[in-house]
């Protein structure tokens, strides 16, 4: 049951408890109870809007930053990763395998904003060996959602 609820919420976090109840066949109160449990158990961490920022004409600049760091004797990459996560500019942070260690996604109001973050904050942190900044030019798909949907194709209204 919880799995079903999670599937529905993952597709549309704004789905009402009443609709979930109708779809999975339990009482609305039970749905609310299960969602509260999922939140309390830290399985649901939050609910987020997927924005088509381009359509907002806000000129928000995003970049992926590959960061090489020196792991620490105790705690490995965790401490430095957690430290990086505290910067509000950092929207995502992953430890990854490959040529570098941490991959950040950062957000700023201008190219200069992001450049300043890298030069003044990120690079100066102890343990950061090097960074490579890749500016995002266009976003096509986010969190499973294609941002610019094609025109909807209409079926026949009546068919056998």
């Amino acid at each position: 049951m919880k799995q079903n609820i999670l599937e529905l919420l993952s597709k549309n976090a704004r789905i009402s408890a009443a609709e979930i109840a109708a779809r999975v066949g339990v009482e609305e109160a039970k749905v609310n109870e299960l969602i509260r449990e999922l939140e309390a158990d830290n399985i649901i961490k939050g609910y987020k809007v997927i924005l088509n920022e381009e359509a907002l004409n806000k000129n928000i600049v995003r970049a992926l930053i590959e960061v090489k760091v020196t792991p620490e004797r105790e705690g490995g990459f965790d401490r430095i990763a957690k430290r990086l996560c505290r910067f509000p500019e950092v929207t995502d942070c992953y430890l990854i395998s490959g040529d570098y260690d941490l991959r950040l996604e950062v957000k700023g109001n201008s190219l200069q904003d992001v450049a300043a973050f890298v030069a003044e904050k990120l690079s100066t942190i102890d343990g950061v060996i090097s960074t490579a900044t890749l500016f995002l030019l266009k976003k096509y798909k986010e969190s499973g959602k294609i941002l610019e949907e094609e025109e909807e194709y209409e079926r026949l209204k009546v068919s056998p």
Binding site: E19, A22, R23, V24, G25, Y153, R155, L156, K157, V158, S159, P160
Partner: protein, 395 residues
Amino acid sequence: MNGLKFHPSDRIAEHVKKIPRSGIREFFELVVDCDDDVISLGVGEPDFVTPWVIRESAIYSLDRGHTSYTSNQGLLSLRKEICNYVNCNFGVNYIPETECLVTVGVSEALDLAMRALVNPGDEVLYSEPCYVSYGAEIRLVHGVPVVIENTADTEFSPDIGQLKAAITPKTKILMLNFPCNPTGATLRLEQMEEIAAIAVKNDLIVFTDEIYSELSYVKRLPTIASLPGMRERTVFLHGFSKAFAMTGFRIGYACGPAEIIAAMNKIHQYTILCAPIMAQEAAEEALKNGLESMEKMRREYQQRRDFVVNGFNEIGLKCLKPKGAFYVFPSIKSTGLSSREFATRLLQEQKVAVVPGTAFGACGEGYIRCCYAASYEELAEALKRIKIFIEDLKR
């Protein structure tokens, strides 16, 4: 010129003239005349787009320049996948080389089977309410349609007594379609066994149209072809349209005894040649990599079914919970309207399109078919409008 006026309508073949227009077609024209605000529960196809892996393989097929004919019977690689799939899921082992034929939709497969087996005057038994083409198909091959009326009393499965009584020395074929369009009815195992025993005892051939089989919401039964004595007398008809949301690809297939498949292929090679190659390759991909998507769609339909059935019963239109397909068949008898009046007025007054039960046979009077292969929002809105319609009727 002999002075007589030429009327093309006089020249239409008699048996074609006698076939009535499809009730669906008639209703379709009414809906087309309405504006865009219509919510349609009148369709007979999935609302999902074909899963991307399957679409992508059709594109890849074109990319590689696969634009030729295939063997009449269809690509052997596809037939192998089909036979393997039928064996794993329906419990009958067919030989891809001789016992499987790929067709343009299951409709063509049904047509071929009829033409290959029916002599003029042979009686073909089938149940109503049923898919709109069965009666017409039988007439087109100069067969005699014999209807068994399935009612709500048996949850729209065949009444065995009525079936037995309908059999005469001229009965050649028994046509089955479970899960059923338009009622969503399925057979229970003991019913299937009884029907198989009747077929063997009376030496009948059975056509089983399995197009909705994957869309079962109870434990799925093996096909009737797997029961004792049935393999040699069953033509197993299936396709990709419903389960894989591939209606526009037009790929169906028939499996059965080699002699029957060969006879069907004889007609197929002269009339159709072969199914389109890119659609065949997409179908192969569907069996290889589309099963997970299919199961997802099935689960989604099941949720919607529960929602819609509850909705109709709450409104006061008695609705059985169908065990398969994506249709509900609620009774509108309590309104006092005929199916046609109900559907027409619902369309005009509340802009919801449903199909009158009579489009699927005379015994569909008092019912409407509603397809729940629509988004949850559309279903909720449609139910809301139907509720208003019913309340207005009571005033």
